[in-house]
């Protein structure tokens, strides 16, 4: 039978089979990318606030640098991180290479510029007079910053969702620092690559379908969140 049709049939069977090996991969993808996004948000939020809330010389330059880093090819970053984590590299002693930790850390580094850029824009979009509002009501400087962050919350959330999206869909970092070791450090992307090269289309197609489902539903959520009017075609009123 046509290997492609065969593959699609196998894929559908796998998806509905509840096979633990298969779903283990899905779980790892979501877990590693989830932790990576959380890390990036943890160190990215204070940086975005520092940049977004003030005017200073070099602000435009720093914003441009982060913007530029968004587009870094994942495999190039993967190589850089590989060199850093490898035995000869500065973080070699940590023994992170080919462990889940490397993927989580590596993807965190990958999505940080994206999260920072989106958050900074969201913070800058908040009316700066809100800071005076908070202050006149008695807020301290840190309480004032939090108030602004709250006003920017939509952008903050969108930034995190976009970051997760990027992390879950990337191949270069996961492959080079994780190694794609079946059962430990393999994720959706590394397995799609592996199984396709092996000619095992059933698995490859199944993983692709799941990955596409994840990424498209995230993208759809972002688009609807940005423009609730789209839901109007279903007769719902936008909120």
């Amino acid at each position: 039978m046509n290997p492609i049709l065969d593959g699609i049939q196998k894929a559908i069977q796998l998806i509905f089979s509840g096979d633990p090996t298969f779903y283990g991969v899905v779980y790892r993808s979501l877990l590693f990318s989830g932790v990576a996004t959380t890390l990036a948000a943890l160190w990215g939020t204070p940086i975005a606030m520092l940049i977004g809330l003030r005017e200073f010389r070099g602000k435009a330059l720093i914003k441009s640098i982060f913007n530029t880093l968004i587009g870094i090819p994942t495999v190039a970053l993967g190589l850089i991180l590989y060199l850093v984590f490898s035995r000869a590299g500065p973080l070699g002693p940590l023994g992170l290479l080919y462990t889940p930790g490397a993927i989580m850390l590596g993807e965190a580094v990958l999505v940080t510029p994206l999260i920072i850029s989106i958050m900074t824009n969201a913070i800058e979009a908040v009316d700066p007079e809100m800071m005076n509002l908070a202050r006149t009501l008695g807020a301290s400087e840190s309480q004032t910053s939090i108030a602004i962050l709250k006003e920017a919350m939509n952008g903050v959330i969108l930034g995190n969702i976009a970051g997760f999206n990027r992390a879950v869909a990337e191949l270069g970092v996961a492959l080079l620092v994780g190694g794609g070791i079946l059962g430990t450090t393999d994720v959706l992307t590394t397995d799609i690559s592996l199984y396709t090269q092996r000619g095992d289309l059933g698995f490859a197609i199944a993983f692709s379908i799941i990955l596409l489902l994840i990424v498209f539903s995230i993208n759809l959520t972002i688009i609807i969140a940005r423009n609730p009017k789209i839901l109007a075609i279903f007769g719902r009123s936008p909120q």
Binding site: N132, L137, G138
Partner: protein
Amino acid sequence: MTVLAELKNLTKNYGNRTVLDDVTLQIEEGEILGLLGPNGSGKTTLLKILAFLEKPESGEVKFQGETVTEKNAEHMRLRSAMVFQRTLLFSNSVYYNVAYGLRMRKLSQNAIKEEVKKALRLVKLEGFEKRSAKKLSGGEQQRVALARALILKTRLLLLDEPTANLDPKNVQIIEEVIGTINRELKTTIVMATHNMFQAKTLPQRIALINDGKITEIGAPAEIFGKLSKNLAIFAAVENTFTGTSKATDAGTTIVDIGNGVQIEATAQRQGATSIFVNPQDIILSKRAVASSARNVFKGKIIEIFDLGTLVKLKVDIGKPFMVQITKRSFNDMALNLNAEVFIAFKASSVQVV
């Protein structure tokens, strides 16, 4: 009279522009001080300095005898509260907004709940706690902003054009609240306005500000009583004109305000005069109507301002006059830009300075 706050030789610049120029001013405890001046005169900056939100380039700010410095500003801000010209609201419920300052002061949840209820009652927004603040009407939003500041019971309250662009119902509510808290809580209030009528009735003292300098200060009767070129500068104040007066045989005065427009007033004056007419006292019609009004002029509608239930129209009769009518009348009369109309008002409606 105790002095609550003081500005001494205060200068404030934004970049190259001097916004406040060597200003010295004392705010007396318990008073309502009106700050009257056109846009760009420095009113807002003056209020922000009194709110300890801006630092002057030179000069001193003192509050209750203490000099305000960068170090103690945050602490001092607990004693004053400012309501901004543009309504700023947190993207949250009315309750969240009004409770914000009390949360910063770490009041207990129960106490906050009680205080919010009282504050909302004061501005006639009972039951609005759960509503989304940004979804309210303009007047309601401004009342929320006011409640949010009042609830803090600060010694000093700074209001920047608190009733600008609001319909009369909201203006009345807000003016009543301002009067009440000054009487009952003895809150000292400094309010900036370019509304001459508001400046006449609420404050005990008025300071005229123009180009960053305070040009005159005194009781409203004093300021409005004497002829003052300063007041006439207020192009932003509606229906204020300067002209030359001549008495008529009938005991009235004709004031020539330029461009061939002659206004008849019942007040007696001679020589240089400033006059103003309340937009609400002017009647608009599409045809000339025979009436007792001494002042009837033909003109063209050059601007329309939609204020919800009311509409304000700028009518050019040689000089621009603002006329206020109900939305209903506006719709019934099918008015639009460039429409030819007649405005009419009585000689007794002309207020002479």
